[in-house]
């Protein structure tokens, strides 16, 4: 193996799964390669750091917590469902929709006549004082005669 190939396998040097011929070849290379020696030593330091990771101490409270959780699971599974429970899944939304349709129906039946703005504004004004809106535009000749008179 060349230096680069050995570098690639160097971090698995201590893995029991590494084939023995590979390990021997790496070991032989390590004797003469300072770069690989440093790299391996650096990795061994990291591995030693990881090996200091302690597992949490056993806790009976944790065990109780799990067993309580399981007991609640069991209770939920063993309690019989009320007879009406399956119906509630569709009965409640169905009742809601029916009520909404009922309200719309009532609203349509009691529909009041629509007021227009003019009717509302002129409701309590005497007829003589009422304005009427003329849709046609005044004729030019009429306007000229009014101006001449004035």
């Amino acid at each position: 193996m060349k230096h680069e190939e050995i570098r690639e396998k160097l971090l698995s040097f201590h893995d029991p799964e590494l084939p023995e011929p590979d390990r021997l070849e790496i070991a032989a290379h390590l004797k003469s390669c300072r770069d690989c020696q440093n790299r391996l030593k650096h990795w061994e330091g990291i591995q030693a750091g990881f090996s200091q990771a302690a597992m949490p101490e056993s806790s009976e409270a944790f065990v109780r917590g799990v067993m309580n959780g399981i007991a609640h699971l069991g209770d939920a599974a063993s309690e019989p469902e009320p007879w009406f429970f399956p119906f509630l899944r569709w009965l409640v939304p169905a009742a809601g929709y029916a009520f909404a349709v009922f309200l719309i129906f009532i609203a349509i039946l009691h529909q009041e006549p629509v007021f227009n703005t003019e009717t509302v504004l002129l409701a309590d004004v005497p007829e003589s004082a009422q304005w009427s809106f003329v849709s046609e535009s005044p004729k030019i000749s009429n306007l000229i005669s009014i101006k001449e008179k004035s």
Binding site: F50, F62, G69, L73
Partner: protein, 205 residues
């Protein structure tokens, strides 16, 4: 630190009695494996309270799926598989992929990291070291973190890793190599620990 061989007769007997209706027998399983599962959750999630909650959920999930356990692999491997998937789900939901950047961590904890990487296994405050290891791992990608925790801390073999992560042996080798290179590259700024002879020579000088 390799505790995971084929399913033990003891585990198998307990599992059979649980499946037979003895729910309380599951407490034995929880007692036996809680350290590993809680330890895994802690290093994956970096939050002790969240880790304990996750570990409880994992044991409850394992109990619910116990009838699906086929004893083709060790019970611990099966439990690690549930743990790995559960922790990844939590990380995805909370989007807490990386808690701190390498640069920030190295700047803040550089000296401690140097001590950790260069110390002999019995020195230092174990809680502080645990916290530091958790922080170092939190800076890695989820996949690299999973690989390194299972291999370097929990000591799973290639075969057990393949069963836990449901992938081929070749994929395990490739992922493990990538994870190791990732952490080594990030810790490259720290010198390799000196051997005892070098340390003695240094003190004498």
């Amino acid at each position: 630190m390799n505790h995971h061989k084929a399913v033990s007769n003891e585990d198998y007997g307990i599992i059979l009695s649980i499946l037979g209706g003895d729910r309380n027998a599951y407490a034995e399983i929880v007692r036996k494996y809680e350290g590993r599962v809680r330890g895994y959750c802690l290093t994956m999630l970096s939050d002790p309270a969240q880790a304990d909650d996750a570990a409880q959920e994992i044991f409850i999930k394992a109990y619910q799926k116990l009838d699906q356990y086929r004893a083709e692999s060790a019970f611990s491997t099966w439990l690690y598989r549930i743990s790995a998937n559960h922790c990844l789900d939590i990380l995805r939901k909370t989007s807490r992929h990386k808690t701190e950047s390498w640069e920030a961590l190295l700047e803040k904890e550089g000296e401690k990291i140097e001590v950790l990487l260069g110390s002999s296994p019995k020195t230092g405050n174990s809680l502080e070291q645990q916290d530091l290891i958790t922080k170092l791992l939190a800076c890695l990608s989820e996949k690299s973190r999973t690989m390194l925790i299972l291999r370097e801390i929990h000591g799973l073999s290639y075969q057990e890793l393949a069963e836990t992560l449901e992938c081929s042996l070749d994929a395990v080798k490739a992922r493990l190599k990538r994870a190791r290179q990732e952490i080594q590259k990030n810790l490259d700024t720290f010198p390799a620990p000196k051997s005892s002879k070098e340390t003695e020579a240094h003190h004498e000088a």
